[in-house]
Amino acid sequence: QDNTFKIGLILPMTGQQATTGRQIEAAARLYMAQNGDTVAGKKIQLIVKDDTSLPDATRRLAQELVVNDKVNVLAGFGITPSALATAPIATQSKTPMVVMAAATSSITQASPYVVRTSFTLPQVSVALADWAPKNGIKKVVTLVSDYGPGIDAEKYFKERLIFNGGQVTEALRVPLRGPDFAPFLQKVRDAKPDALFVFVPSGAGAAVMKQFAERGLDKAGIKLIGTGDVTDDDQLNDMGDVAVGVVTSHHYSAAHPSALNKKFVEAFSKANKGLRPNFMAVGGYDGMRVIYEALKISKGQGGGDALLAGMKGQIFESPRGKMFIDAQTRDVVQDIYLRKVEKKDGQLYNVEFDVIKDVKDPGKAK
């Protein structure tokens, strides 16, 4: 009993966010397979729970994991409200909570026990807003899904773009449940901007892209740019040629040219019937790394505060590139890449062509 170290992994495994859960779980298991399940004399045990993306379920599961299973770390968290709902539990029980997916800026502020290994939308949006004006894109229309992360993306992109001398002529918000992008894209076409900036949760990207082409926006000279969620590696290959040439900014691409990443991608797809890891997977993978290392640093003590201390300030090379956990904000600081979709050996990849180093979450700067 005393010799196990339990990680409660709460993820959406069913419903519309199910792919997030799958990727993260697979990555976490991969990390365990690669690094053994004994750390500092403790046997690591992973308990996976499905919260169906319902915040109250996430919270109850977390509560049960903490009280009944006595987990040492909570991890996972697919969507922002789930993470926010659980934060008080982390505080109350002094259990570190590793956020592997949810990307709204404010999550790390909800509890001093939150550590994030994914990314924040301000991080990636800002990078794109830096790049765009330098590349002849001045007039932009934004199109985001109408919820926390989308609004974050819109806000930070717009602020930075204006700061850089560009302008956002129209800010469109698509309902999360809005199945048809056609009218929004028609509006974009009629507005004739230089580029369209898009953030939609992973999964909806393909539809945007196809309708973008079908509506002839590309022929009208409008460029499509967006956060990496749009050209999610998970699906990129099925999107077909319409995706080629799309420029996005993100912290991870399966095509990241490093040895570590190559190994990661290969091992991941071998273990999962050829599935390509996406940015969710890397969040889970690195999250496990952060937990493992913290356990080592704390010399096998499972105590919450000791673990937390071990997590803060970790610097390491991840498949995504270099990253570190800011000791102050407990948020991830990482390189953000600009990528373009290209065809390599018959497969589509986000090929990185530029990088902005050590981007902190701009949401914390205020």
Partner: protein
């Protein structure tokens, strides 16, 4: 302007094909089949898998999607649905939701939970533009294709239901199964055929709609509400009702998003509530029907 109208019509037509089977099972057969979307999903996946794995051309996939879903519907009707016709509506709801859950999990298990993407043939990818300025009409070829297919189906259906003996036998069977059978109508056969065709249409709709609406295992749950709106607003006593309702919904949805994007979903729901409070039996009921 015209483009928006055109898109709205295409979207509406698609909704109609997806929902018309439900209008028939719910309105004519008086069976609440919330699993309707699962048949649509089946059609969608049949198409995707045939195209991706076996390289079957898109046009050939459409009839196959119809037949596949119709067969599936027929088999399920015989085995599972039939005993439920005379059960209370709530039991039917429970049962069909159960089926949806099973369908969702099974598809997830066998195919995976990612969005499926269909590669259309080249000739459907283009776009034709007429006129200019405010009156410019841009027609995506695929949407044009959807409109054509759906319009043809609508006319056919309307003919069968309103002018053939099959239509009146179906309605008679629904009104009173026991007496209809006693008067020589083979109720089981009538229901089986109807159900299969309804499911087949959903499958066809799923195949056609995968491109526009996206396709993943949660499809049947995501669009259930839309189907229900079409049927509720359109009323269930005819085919034209749901058709007009679907068109209205499609156009309102598209135009709403275009002109007042901020209000998003408000438009659709407010419109629906307003209509239903104004005409509680649905917009387009047969005169004097009860």
């Amino acid at each position: 302007m015209l483009t928006i109208l055109f898109d709205g019509i295409a979207y509406g037509m698609l909704l109609f094909i997806l929902a018309v089977g439900l209008a028939v099972t719910m309105g004519l057969m008086n069976f609440i089949n919330l699993a309707h979307g699962a048949f649509a999903m089946a059609g969608g996946y049949i198409t995707v898998l045939l195209m991706q794995r076996f390289g079957v051309p898109f046009l050939l996939c459409l009839p196959l999607a119809f037949i596949g879903s119709a067969l599936l519907g027929g088999v399920l009707e015989r085995t599972l649905y039939r005993p439920l016709y005379h059960k209370p509506h709530l039991d039917q709801v429970l049962f069909s939701i159960g089926l949806v859950f099973m369908a969702v999990a099974s598809v997830d298990y066998f195919v995976g939970s990612t969005q499926q993407i269909i590669q259309l043939p080249e000739w459907l990818k283009g776009r034709t533009e007429l006129g200019s300025g405010d009156w410019m009409l841009g027609m995506g070829h695929y949407r044009l294709f959807i409109i054509a297919v759906c319009a043809a189906l609508t006319v056919g259906l309307q003919y069968v239901l309103a002018y053939t003996r099959f239509g009146s036998r179906l309605r008679a069977s629904v009104d009173d199964q026991r007496v209809a059978a006693g008067l020589g109508i083979n109720v089981n056969m009538v229901f089986l055929t109807t159900f299969a065709v309804g499911s087949g249409l959903a499958g066809l709709g799923g195949a056609l709609g995968a491109e526009v609406l996206g396709l993943d295992p949660s499809f049947p749950l995501k669009f259930m509400v839309y189907f229900l709106i079409v049927v509720a607003v359109g009323g269930t006593s005819s085919i034209t009702g749901p058709l007009l309702a679907a068109l209205l919904l499609g156009i309102a949805d598209v135009a709403g998003k275009y002109y007042i994007p901020k209000l998003g979903a408000f438009i659709v729901y407010s419109l629906m509530i307003a209509i239903l409070i104004w005409r509680p039996q649905g917009l387009f009921v047969r005169k004097g029907g009860k």
